[in-house]
C-alpha cells in the first residue's frame, strides 16, 4: 500500500516536473521560434474555439445588426426620395423664381383674397411668420415675378400689387443681350419700353428684373430699387421696330399666372425676432 502511494507521488512529481520543464522550455525559446510555436499551437488549440465563439457571437448579434441595417436602409430610402423630389422640382423649375445666387430672405405667404378695383389689381397675402415688410418688395411665385408689396396691414398681412396693375412699372433686363428697359402692362399685354430700336432683341429671349430703380423714383434716390436683379419675369414673345418710333416694341409673355395663386414669396422680407412681434 505504501509502495503504491509512493509510486503515485513519484508519478505526480514526474508529471509536475515534466509540465514545468515544458513550460520553461517554451518560455525560454527565442522570440521568433516562440511566436512560430505559438502560432502552430494556436491553430490547433485556440483557433477552433475562437472560431466557434466568434460564430456564436455573430449569430447572436445578427438580429440586432439586422435591425440597425433596416433603420439605415429606411433612412437612405427617405434621403433618396428627398433627392429625387429635389431633382424633380429642379427639372420642373419649381421653387421661388429667384436667381440661384440669391441669398436674401424669402417669406412664404398664403394668398388670402383677391381684390379688383379701378386701375388696380391686387391680392392680399398672409405670411406664415411675422415679417418686417418694406414698401415695394417684389413678390414672386414659383414661376416668376408676380408683383410688388403695396400696402402693409400688419406684420403678417399685406396687399400686393400685381404686374397687371395699370400703373405698374418694373425695371427689366433682356438676359441674353443685357439690354435694360421698363416693363409695363398695356391693355392686357406686357411690353418692355425704352429699348432702342437698334438693340438686338430676339423672340424667345428671357426677361429678368434688372435691379435698377424705377423711372418714377424721386431724383437723388438710389438707382437700385428694392427689386433685386435676376428675378424671372417672362420671355420675349414679339419684337418689332416701327419706323415712326424711337424705341422697339417688345412684347413678353410673363411666366407667372396672375389668375390663380396659392402661395407666393416676398423677396427680402425678414422674419421678425420674437420680441418684435406685435401681440
Amino acid at each position: 500500500m505504501a509502495r503504491t502511494t509512493s509510486s503515485g507521488a513519484r508519478t505526480d512529481t514526474a508529471v509536475g516536473m515534466l509540465c514545468i520543464a515544458v513550460s520553461l522550455a517554451l518560455l525560454l525559446l527565442p522570440d521568433r521560434p516562440q511566436l512560430q510555436v505559438a502560432h502552430a499551437l494556436s491553430t490547433v488549440i485556440v483557433n477552433p474555439w475562437l472560431d466557434t465563439r466568434n460564430y456564436a457571437e455573430d449569430v447572436l448579434s445578427v438580429k440586432a445588426e439586422n435591425a440597425r441595417l433596416s433603420a439605415e436602409v429606411e433612412a437612405l430610402k427617405a434621403r433618396l426620395a428627398a433627392v429625387r423630389r429635389d431633382q424633380t422640382d429642379q427639372d420642373r423649375n419649381a421653387g421661388p423664381a429667384v436667381a440661384p445666387s440669391f441669398t436674401g430672405p424669402l417669406a412664404p405667404c398664403q394668398v388670402l383674397a383677391r381684390k379688383r378695383v379701378r386701375l388696380a389689381s391686387m391680392i392680399q397675402i398672409r405670411s406664415v411668420d411675422p415679417v418686417r415688410w418694406q414698401p415695394e418688395l417684389p413678390v414672386v411665385t414659383v414661376d416668376g415675378l408676380i408683383g410688388r408689396l403695396h400696402t402693409v396691414i400688419d406684420d403678417r398681412a399685406a396687399w400686393v400689387e400685381l404686374l397687371t396693375a395699370p400703373d405698374m412699372a418694373v425695371g427689366v433686363e433682356l438676359e441674353g443681350s443685357g439690354v435694360v428697359g421698363v416693363l409695363r402692362p398695356r391693355a392686357g399685354r406686357f411690353v418692355v419700353e425704352l429699348v432702342g430700336r437698334d438693340e438686338a432683341v430676339m423672340p424667345g429671349e428671357e426677361v429678368i428684373t434688372s435691379g435698377l430703380g424705377e423711372v418714377r423714383d424721386a431724383p437723388g434716390s438710389s438707382p437700385f430699387g428694392p427689386v433685386p436683379r435676376g428675378l424671372r419675369v417672362g420671355v420675349v414673345s414679339q419684337v418689332s421696330a416701327p419706323s415712326d418710333q424711337v424705341f422697339k416694341v417688345i412684347e413678353i409673355s410673363p411666366h407667372a399666372d396672375f389668375r390663380r395663386n396659392e402661395t407666393v414669396f416676398v423677396v427680402g422680407a425678414e422674419v421678425l425676432p420674437r420680441e418684435e412681434v406685435t401681440p
Binding site: 508529471v15 514545468i20 513550460s23 517554451l26 511566436l35 499551437l41 488549440i45
Partner: protein, 163 residues
Amino acid sequence: MRSFLRTTLAWVLLAFLGENLISPLIAIRGIAPDFTVLAVVILAMAEGARAGALGGFALGLVQDLAVPTLLGLHALCKTSMGWIIGRTRGRLMYGVPMVEMSLILVASLGHDTVFLLVQSRQQSEAFLGPWLFEAVPTAFYTALVGWPLVRLADLLGILRRED
C-alpha cells in the same frame, strides 16, 4: 469514470465560462476574480497534484497563446500552482471557510507574483504597481468568489476525500 468526467466538465466550464462571461460582468474597476486560478485550485483539490499540474499546464498554455511573447509563463505558473495545491491535499482542513479562502488567496497571489516577477524581468517599477493594484485585489476578490464555488463543488461531490 463518471466522476472524472464530472470533475473535468466542472473545471473546464468554470474556467472558460467564468473567464469569458462572468468575469466581465462582475468586474469592479477592472478587477475581476481569476476563474482560471479557481478552476485549477478546484481541480487540484479534487484530483490531486498530477491532475492539477496537467490541468494547470493545459489551461495556462491556452492563456499563453493569447500573449505569445510570454509563451509558457501562464503554463508554468498554473502548473506549479496546481501541483503544489494537489500536494497539500489531505494536509489542510477543508470545509473551514478561512482555510479554503486562504488557500485560494495564496494560490492566486502566488500565481500572479511569479507571473509578474517574470514579466517585469524583476524590475521593481514594473512589478510593484501591478502587484499592489491588480494582483492583491484580484486575489482577495477571487477568494471571496471562490469559496462558495468550492463549497458548491463539495456539495456536488466533485471534491472527493483523498484516496
